[in-house]
Assembly symmetry: D2
Homo-oligomer: 497 residues x 4
Amino acid sequence: MTQTVGHFIGGESVLTEGRTQPIYNPSTGQICGEVELASVETVEQAIANAQAAYPAWRNTPPAKRAQVMFRFKMLLEQKSDEICQAISREHGKVLHDAAGELQRGIENVEFACGIPQLLKGEHSKNAGPAIDSWSEFQPLGVVAGITPFNFPAMVPLWMWPAAIMCGNTFVLKPSERDPSSALMIAQLAVEAGLPKGVLNVVNGDKEAVDTLLQSPTVQAVSFVGSTPIAHYIYEQAAAHGKRCQALGGAKNHSVLMPDADLDNAVNALMGAAYGSCGERCMAISVAVAVGDEIADKLVASLKDKIAGLKVGSGLDNSNEMGPLITAQARDRVKGYIDAGVEQGAELVVDGRDIVVPGHENGFYVGATLFDKVTENMTIYTDEIFGPVLVVVRVDNLQQAIDLINRHEYGNGTCIFTRDGEAARYFCDQIMVGMVGVNVPLPVPVSYHSFGGWKRSLFGDLSAYGPDAIRFYTRRKTITQRWPSSGVREGVTYSFPS
Amino acid sequence: MTQTVGHFIGGESVLTEGRTQPIYNPSTGQICGEVELASVETVEQAIANAQAAYPAWRNTPPAKRAQVMFRFKMLLEQKSDEICQAISREHGKVLHDAAGELQRGIENVEFACGIPQLLKGEHSKNAGPAIDSWSEFQPLGVVAGITPFNFPAMVPLWMWPAAIMCGNTFVLKPSERDPSSALMIAQLAVEAGLPKGVLNVVNGDKEAVDTLLQSPTVQAVSFVGSTPIAHYIYEQAAAHGKRCQALGGAKNHSVLMPDADLDNAVNALMGAAYGSCGERCMAISVAVAVGDEIADKLVASLKDKIAGLKVGSGLDNSNEMGPLITAQARDRVKGYIDAGVEQGAELVVDGRDIVVPGHENGFYVGATLFDKVTENMTIYTDEIFGPVLVVVRVDNLQQAIDLINRHEYGNGTCIFTRDGEAARYFCDQIMVGMVGVNVPLPVPVSYHSFGGWKRSLFGDLSAYGPDAIRFYTRRKTITQRWPSSGVREGVTYSFPS
Amino acid sequence: MTQTVGHFIGGESVLTEGRTQPIYNPSTGQICGEVELASVETVEQAIANAQAAYPAWRNTPPAKRAQVMFRFKMLLEQKSDEICQAISREHGKVLHDAAGELQRGIENVEFACGIPQLLKGEHSKNAGPAIDSWSEFQPLGVVAGITPFNFPAMVPLWMWPAAIMCGNTFVLKPSERDPSSALMIAQLAVEAGLPKGVLNVVNGDKEAVDTLLQSPTVQAVSFVGSTPIAHYIYEQAAAHGKRCQALGGAKNHSVLMPDADLDNAVNALMGAAYGSCGERCMAISVAVAVGDEIADKLVASLKDKIAGLKVGSGLDNSNEMGPLITAQARDRVKGYIDAGVEQGAELVVDGRDIVVPGHENGFYVGATLFDKVTENMTIYTDEIFGPVLVVVRVDNLQQAIDLINRHEYGNGTCIFTRDGEAARYFCDQIMVGMVGVNVPLPVPVSYHSFGGWKRSLFGDLSAYGPDAIRFYTRRKTITQRWPSSGVREGVTYSFPS
Amino acid sequence: MTQTVGHFIGGESVLTEGRTQPIYNPSTGQICGEVELASVETVEQAIANAQAAYPAWRNTPPAKRAQVMFRFKMLLEQKSDEICQAISREHGKVLHDAAGELQRGIENVEFACGIPQLLKGEHSKNAGPAIDSWSEFQPLGVVAGITPFNFPAMVPLWMWPAAIMCGNTFVLKPSERDPSSALMIAQLAVEAGLPKGVLNVVNGDKEAVDTLLQSPTVQAVSFVGSTPIAHYIYEQAAAHGKRCQALGGAKNHSVLMPDADLDNAVNALMGAAYGSCGERCMAISVAVAVGDEIADKLVASLKDKIAGLKVGSGLDNSNEMGPLITAQARDRVKGYIDAGVEQGAELVVDGRDIVVPGHENGFYVGATLFDKVTENMTIYTDEIFGPVLVVVRVDNLQQAIDLINRHEYGNGTCIFTRDGEAARYFCDQIMVGMVGVNVPLPVPVSYHSFGGWKRSLFGDLSAYGPDAIRFYTRRKTITQRWPSSGVREGVTYSFPS
């Protein structure tokens, strides 16, 4: 008997007896629950609840709103084990990895606690004679977030804490594949004192998404997912006149310079390529080796490390890598490996035939390594979103930079070097939004902002951090002069200067 | 014999012998020139020139780029008479009004002079142990601006000085109805030392606009114009994956409270309603009188003032109001007045039959005033963009606020009162982006930003000021750790926290 | 038998068997404990502990440091009753007033939680060709705070949370008259995870103060107290080369305009004048009435209200006003009242002979009101720091402003009016650091900063809020260029430009 | 016959027939003029003029004030040759070096042009329910600057443009040894439209300085000079209750790591050590070589370069180094060289006996180089302020850092290396305010701020850039609530929370 995961609307758990879809435990391949897929009406009900909660919440002083966040942070820390269990059960990532995800999400909550400071507007005395002018950053109203399966707890926490601290109310549509943690977390927000209706969660598929995009009430949409869907969301939001930030896919390259600290780099790459089974938009999936000497050493060293990698159930914390999210994902990744072989890449480690004893039906693919990959192969061009690392060999740093800049994505990248000049030149020239210098996963900390370049982000403001405050607010500029009874002013037909 | 106005590409004036369109002097109704309408090829040539100029310009330190702006400001001041003549001749606005417009534009240049300060990124020491992280705001590449006829000098200066100071190169498509001043100004920028190709100007129509929107090279589009076109631009830019800010139309209300300083308010309204013949997106076209007592006084006083209003050629600086931009605009405005009468409004002053001696073919409509206008009339619902002021009567401030908040536009508004509480409540509750308190045209100063709410602006960042710096840059966040040879780090498969 | 209050050094409570001084419960006039007065050696021991804790704390990433503050906030909320009991017992203020004080202090802790955001430096790419430059805000080392008796919990919380979040370590010398709450709070910080030695508390008198001022280890001193001592601290700190901010006394005027909402104003004044028995540097001690009409009404209304004011033990929450801090303070206040009568002021309500049944030895003075006070009287010129409100009558706003601007202090002030122009003119012209418009105690919220003008503050940065971050950090600016091996640069003997 | 240089008060050149002192041309050793030394009365007259000009200037909107700066920048560029002649004639530095100085000063003017942006305050909507709060940064009134001989044009431009753009009025006391350029520049400011009395210049000595320090009208003092005087100024300013920033001396070390690009480093050091004859507070006077290998190469290479150094009159632009400022300075520097020899340092190049043909009476000392200098020698401990570079040898970077951190000064320093980790560790650990990585004179650009650590700066805010805006303004925080007639509030005796 399985549990049905519904929605969270107006501060209450809601089941509608509508369409459902199974939820799998990827570690076992078994169904572990089912999730309701919201109808148009259900989504509209969530929007209506958010709309109803808006006026009072908007008028609550930011410092009072922040009290909810302070308590919420403490509750998240207290309940982290339960949340991580839910993440791991439905997503498959290993518990310690789920804990890392949640920790990052909590850091976004911490940032949101500073909202009274972050919301400050700009004030100009004497913008003109006895005229003052200032800008306020006011909430938008009801805003929506649509989030992916790979970080079911963290990505929602990128969005809604900042959004509601700005005074908005929110409708979240998490991934229907691993919906439970987002709902647990929403429940905690209400326990922390969030008024009902300020945060609503609907599970669903395209019907829910399109309802959010088309609603005249929804003022803005934040999205994280694959690039084709991100582009669709961006276009549709614009067609309906909304503001939108839509984060898409990635193909993140790391560059290994001949002077790199190779031991560190290999350790870093193992985590960055295979952690969370490669299902991260910041995963490193391409290693660009500058010169054959370091390339040979790199491949040899990675091969050794992969041999010792512990793959298995996400719920066993001794494992290092878990399964993929679905059987389809597993088959798609294997298909890419097949294609890599066909297209002539050198398959150094083959993860296709892995068997995890006791979990033979889990959606596993083992860590896979290709060498001598070239720019036209699909294992290079496409975001595989699985545990496949490809090595590309180049002769110098400029070639590495040009290669990366030609790729359609520009989310993250990193360089391993000891040389200040090489690092600075790389950071300057590279057309990528998040750059690491000897840091393999350069995810910005919560008080900076997250965003890629090129087809990895549609919109002009990045996710979380300072950009989120700007995205979730509308500027209102007030220009004020007071009449002095003794002073009469002449008519001015000209544009004032 | 008329002059042909072409394009400005790669630092040179370009004529292509392509399609043309006449330019009128609205004050006389005579053709005073013709303008080329750029073909796809011409626009692509401009884009290619901008692209070619980009790498060197991007690498020029901001403080050096700023030197161009300092000289450019001085040149604009020296050549202001010539520029204002061109504005007035092609647009029809009175010279002193053109001077006001240009002055506002120069203030945007002054703001752009501060670019070294404005471009500062955020730096975090010890984002983690011995890890530093910082955000840079890097240029986008080639960006485009599409600007309206009503401020042919100012609105381009809202856009490209900030954009190029951020390190971008620019293609401007000004209004084809009054194209000369934008070209004169671009020429001055090159005289001030701007490298060729950094700023390009193409004249044209939908063909030029669509070429800009579809070009994969153009990274961002700024637009100011009417709401339907703004929405089209926003949607198309999004469909092509670009960032976009598109400013649309307006119906700006002023509210007169019973305690208003009426003399000041009437003087202010005369300028705000009839200045530039009402062809301003910040013009006041609705006066909301709170209570019949002030409404009666207001209408009487306006009627008196209108009787003394000097209407005539824009090139005669003794006039207070000039013609509309085209014969079509004149006929459209008269049609609205006809409709207002038909729909039952009280026509207090009728500007339809004005004759300006010596300029009988000019595109004039006299200052027009309606009283007792209601919410369903087209003179209330539509942006007329002409010298038509409508008075709506309400009983209290809440009614005034609700009325304004129901309108589709939310660009500007103002309240006339002496009461601190009324002003604060109005500013807080009103869903409008730019709010004046006893200031009829609350155009933000150049170091704040310009943007409406609702269907007056599509996008999330406003025009000019601080928002422009953010719009014209991409955030790049760098996370840096240096390997210490003596320290080896363990493999981390979890998401780092 | 009484308890001895010692010091808190290196994370431990310390008793030294040195000099002591009694602690009184002002509500009863009884001794309720004794406090050690630190010797030079004890203070130096505290400084040495702070110095020892500095290197590790400085290197702890700000986001990790912030975790202590998050937990500390929760602990303060959990222990608030105990802390307020201690405040009230030793200071005499009513429990609900102590709770207000503590709440304000907690808000400073909340602000300090945002340290990762607040510490961000400024980064400039291409300050010159391939040269980057950025500023970091680094901690100072060991800093000291010296705080007054009137807010024994809040004022320390203005200082040390911000200071230690910036990476400094701290020695606090609270008032020796009511030392317990500061010690309890320091203990909670360690419970919250603050490493030992980061925060140290020494009780003492001038010997302790001078030791802090003369120590070469102490980098900066924050002080709040009376103006003569503030000036002494500022001068001595400067003589020893330290940075210093020293907040002094006040004589805060409120202005009542003829259009004021008198009922609100009188209610506000009652709290602002008599709350905490007038022992607040933001207390309103002068009411400037503009015109005799409002003056007469004001005096009559205040007289009525005072008659109903409940005065008694601070530990009884049904009281509205408690005793003064010491018998000396009581006698000094009575002396001022005597002088006011002698100098010709009209004594409307006389608080000299108050008897609180059951607490006949408590240090009580009843609420006192003078009318027709003039500028030369000592009840006008001096900071009485007791429950004495004086009414000064003027003819117009300009006279009120001139009067206030002539006074030596410029801490706080407020105006009661409904008129936007009067409020704006007052705020602009008044030489006072903290201004209220219809807000009697305009204490800035924790994310702004607290500071007076003229002889109310010595130094250039205010207390708490953004200024505190700047005060407790040193700017370090780094300019960086990397050599490219192929490029050789010419010698430059000129100053680089 | 010599010219008498007087004062500039109330927009007029003023001669008072008071005490005078000769001005020398250090290149020839001849007297080239005389300068008046202001009496108490003259300084008070300047202060009075500044005070009189203050109210109108304070009320001039910042954007209007900025117009003066824009024109002033252009005038400075137009008159730069004349100004540089005056600098070189009275100071002795070579003309191209004077041009570099002036250019840096102009950059401070450019920064000040952005004052409308820089003066923005912080605005908080709903700091409490319907309560808004904002901070304004208001001018102080009359402020004073006291500047040194070594940058007679630049250091005054660090101070007064920012100060007056903030709305203050100013009294400058430049060095009496080379006073002309500061006066010429003040004249240009008035030509640029600065109202008379806003900027005043008095020449003088201790009498003038003490008058400024003791004046109750002067609100703040900025000083740049030697450390003993800086400390005196800081202490005296504090004793008189003023805010003060006092920048003192320096002993700037550069560290050469074994991997440094030695050719670049030597070129850089030649300019940094001997440019302006070493009379710069950012001059490099100590080279710390890490390891004997690089030390030997460094000394050999410097010796070679020094042999080719062209020393002679500052007015001959083909020279690379000019004379010292006075005969006394020359003798003092020679005395240090004598002492260095006595104390056992290895004198590699001896500049004591230099003769410049045709200028035998000029105040010349040739470039001097010591090797194997140790920490106790006076050539190491003291700021020589002459063309003497000392080499200290250490074994590793940690020793270099410890050495620098033990020195009493902490103005500037730099490291030459290619290694990212070494650079980052050095920047982090070094207790110096301005740090260069492969940049020998890490003077912050004008939009950052200038300030050392330890005994190189007294006060908490640095010179120019953002810190100057804060130093030259007082924070005023306004908290505003408007009474709503229908709402009555209860009395609050507690401290509001």
